[in-house]
């Protein structure tokens, strides 16, 4: 009995050792297996296209014969420097980005602040502000095109009621850019508001309590408690919105429904995304389109770097 017991014990120990080896291997490698799908997909649909686009941007290549590539070095990039359509698109992207991102984030902050109050049916309002985000770009834009119509649009009708003349929204530079921005603002304000709301709810209530004890009004609480606590979140939404604005595509494309990617007869609302699309998929110049894509990528890297510097400066300031 004793010897058998000892043998059992040894076997048990061996088994346990084996199991723990397996356990350790499991703990060590399983996470990699679990995250592998993302990286495989990223390599296939993110990294490879990125590198291939970079490779194509160094060639003259047409969509009619995508396998015939002629090496041209940096010519596609250097010609962008003197391409007035590119500069025009860059300028438009910048201005539309500013007039859509700034009001959008300010309004989102305000909406989040209102939603943060105790109010009846708060769930309803939270879902309601998110509904524009759930609408497809195409559907939303098509409705806005009708609203901003020159002859029978509702906006011009309302202006007429106020005694103002009709505005040719699509043809003016500023008017068309304003119209495109309203679509962006309408779609994304609620989304950003919910992000702000989530961050607001993480602010400790005693901060407000003590502020209230000190006699701070709602507005002062908002300025001196809410906004400083939200700083990282605000920075995050700024970055995300800037990236979104740089890649703006669907709204200006559909705002000019019939005419494709020109962005208006004067290219007045042609963004970088639209110009890229026009070069690649209308004019079929894949090499030139790839160069624009990489230039956009580099611009985004610059924005990322600027953000990093700003956030570092802010952190230093607060500590």
């Amino acid at each position: 009995m004793g010897a058998a017991g000892a043998r059992d014990h040894r076997a048990e120990a061996r088994r346990r050792a084996r199991r723990s080896r397996r356990y350790r291997r499991d703990v060590r490698w399983s996470p990699y297996a679990f995250v592998a799908p993302f990286f495989l997909f990223f390599a296939a649909f993110g990294l490879f296209p990125l590198l291939y686009t970079g490779w194509a941007s160094l060639h003259q290549v047409e969509l009619t014969a995508p396998n015939e590539m002629h090496w041209v070095g940096l010519r596609n990039f250097s010609r962008l420097m003197s391409d007035e359509f590119f500069w025009n698109a860059l300028r438009n992207t910048f201005t539309i980005g500013i007039i859509s991102t700034v009001p959008q984030l300010l309004m989102a902050l305000g909406v989040a602040h209102l939603l943060h109050f105790k109010l009846r049916g708060s769930m309803f309002f939270r879902v309601a502000v998110l509904t524009p985000y759930a609408t497809s770009v195409a559907a939303a834009t098509l409705v806005f095109v009708l609203l901003f119509g020159r002859d029978y649009g509702m906006v011009n009708w309302a202006l007429g009621q106020l005694g103002l003349g009709p505005v040719d929204w699509q043809n003016g530079t500023w008017t068309s850019q304003f119209a495109v921005s309203t679509i962006v603002v309408w779609r994304w304000t609620g989304y950003n508001a919910l992000i702000y709301l989530a961050a607001m709810q993480a602010i400790a209530p005693d901060l407000y309590e003590s502020a209230a004890l000190d006699g701070a009004s709602r507005w002062q609480q908002f300025r001196h408690v809410t906004v400083p606590s939200l700083r990282p979140t605000i920075l995050f939404t700024c970055v995300v919105s800037t990236i979104g604005a740089t890649q703006l595509f669907g709204e200006p494309l559909l705002f000019n429904g019939g005419a494709g990617a020109t962005g208006g007869s004067d290219h007045q609302f042609q963004t970088l995304g639209l110009y890229l699309y026009e070069q690649g998929w209308v004019n079929l110049h894949l090499g030139r389109a790839s160069a624009i894509a990489w230039t956009m990528f580099l611009i985004l890297l610059l924005i990322g770097a600027a953000n990093w510097l700003i956030s570092r400066a802010l952190r230093k300031e607060t500590t």
Binding site: L63, Y152, N171, G260, T262, D266
Partner: protein
């Protein structure tokens, strides 16, 4: 107990995997079957429906192409019980065409039969002929049935015909009788045709007469771009010359079309609309313009947009000069699995009888000359357009249209002339000269590789 559940779970998982695997294998086997039926079943078509596996042929088109809507697929499947036809459609040709090119380049993702728009056919014929089947020698294809210029557009220099024409777009002028009457112009379609017969300048003159007494809010024509498209559609040489050189800048025919169309804008005869935009549709519904150059395929569009309210008000007269706008082709990619059957399908779909059906049901005008004599075409009247004999009006325009030289970048040149240059003149009030320069700049940028 615990190990048991683990074991059962494992068994269940294995069973699922096995089932999926079997499904995959079955899928492959199925594929193999259909491949077999391709090689064996291409000559005989009557399989008796019941037993044999059916071959699925796919047709890729853009927009509401009409083949399906006219019931042609159903008719073909009835004739060939072993064939099943499925259609995939992409709404806009701007999205459809680049996708077709990438699919041709990679040799995958293609439908067995693909549609190609006339503005792209020169580029397809010049650059993709090696990836497409020669349809000129397929059984049932009769070269002489087609209009010679239509046949020539999809034939390479060494005689390979890569596309079979479906429809063409001979043009007339659609006009509003009520607005014409209000402005003191004739309303009978013969008399209206005579107003401008033979010369686009006379169309302009009629516009001036209309404007003098026009009802409030009604312009003579929808857009200057539409006029330009109609005029350029009637000249043999347009953007390219016979040697394949881009000549639009120096071609007097283009310059002439530009000047004439621009004077519609500068004389205030247009409603300043852009075609195929929502505001254009609203223009049809609200009667903001009295005339529009309309290819045969546009009649259905007008009927849709002008609706019941426009019934009895619209009519169609002959255009000043015969011209063509639009039309399509069917091609068969060589990468397809069922090439022989696909070619037979394309041949059948573009045969005169089917083109006549397509015209009868959808208003797409036949590119098969042989169809013009068929009663479905020669006797065709359009109830919405006051019973106009559209078969005869458009057949006359089709036969009078010159053989037009097409070039690979026709679409881009036409688009930039219309949507950049002429639109600036029409909607922004720029001078014809500065509009022209803007268009040239955009075209130069687009054509530069």
């Amino acid at each position: 107990m615990r190990t048991r559940t683990n074991a059962t779970r494992r068994v269940a998982a294995l069973a699922v995997v096995a089932a999926l695997g079997a499904g995959l294998l079955a899928g492959c086997a199925d594929d193999g079957d259909s491949k077999d039926s391709t090689s064996s079943g291409s000559s005989s078509s009557s399989g008796g429906g019941g037993g044999g596996a059916r071959t699925t042929l796919t047709v890729g088109v853009f927009g509401a192409f009409g083949l399906k809507e006219a019931g042609l697929y159903d008719a073909y499947m009835k004739l060939h019980p072993d064939i099943e036809i499925k259609q995939t459609s992409i709404e806009r040709n701007e999205n459809y065409y680049p996708q077709l090119l990438t699919h041709l380049g990679s040799g995958s993702g293609l439908a067995d039969v693909q549609a190609v728009e006339v503005n792209n056919i020169a580029e397809v014929t010049a650059t993709q002929a090696g990836r497409l089947e020669d349809l000129g020698k397929v059984r049932g294809v009769d070269k002489d049935a087609f209009l010679p210029w239509k046949w020539g557009q999809a034939t390479t220099k060494d005689g390979k015909t890569v596309g079979l024409g479906t429809d063409i777009g001979p043009q007339g002028i659609c006009y509003r009788k009520d607005l014409f009457a209000a402005a003191g112009l004739p309303t009978d379609r013969e008399a209206v045709g005579k107003l401008w017969a033979g010369d686009w300048q006379k169309y302009l003159a009629a516009g001036e007469r209309f404007k003098a007494k026009a009802p409030k809010g009604a312009a003579f024509v929808d857009s200057a771009s539409g006029v330009m498209a109609a005029i350029t559609g009637g000249s043999a040489t347009r953007y390219y010359d016979g040697d394949g050189k881009v000549v639009y800048k120096s071609n007097p025919a283009v310059k002439d079309a530009w000047d004439t169309a621009a004077s519609f804008a500068t004389h205030g005869l247009t409603a300043k609309l852009q075609q195929f935009q929502p505001s254009w549709d609203q223009g049809f519904a609200n009667g903001t313009f009295a005339t529009v150059s309309c290819p045969a395929w546009m009649l259905g569009y007008i009927q849709d947009k002008a609706g019941e309210a426009g019934k009895g008000k619209w009519d169609v007269a002959a255009a000043p000069k015969p011209s063509n706008w639009g039309g399509s082709f069917l091609v068969v990619p060589s990468a397809g699995k069922h090439r022989a059957q696909a070619a037979e399908l394309a041949a059948w779909l573009t045969a005169p009888a089917q083109q006549a059906t397509l015209f009868e049901k959808r208003g797409s005008f036949p590119s098969a000359r042989a169809a013009y004599a068929l009663p479905a075409v020669s006797g065709a009247q359009h109830a919405y357009f006051g019973g106009a004999p559209i078969g005869q009006i458009f057949a006359k325009a089709a036969e009078g249209t010159p053989v037009q030289i097409l070039g690979p970048k026709d679409l881009i040149i036409a688009q930039n002339l219309a949507d950049v240059g002429m639109l600036q003149v029409d909607q922004k009030g720029r001078s014809p000269q500065s509009g022209w320069e803007a268009a040239v700049k955009a075209i130069d940028n687009a054509l530069d590789q």
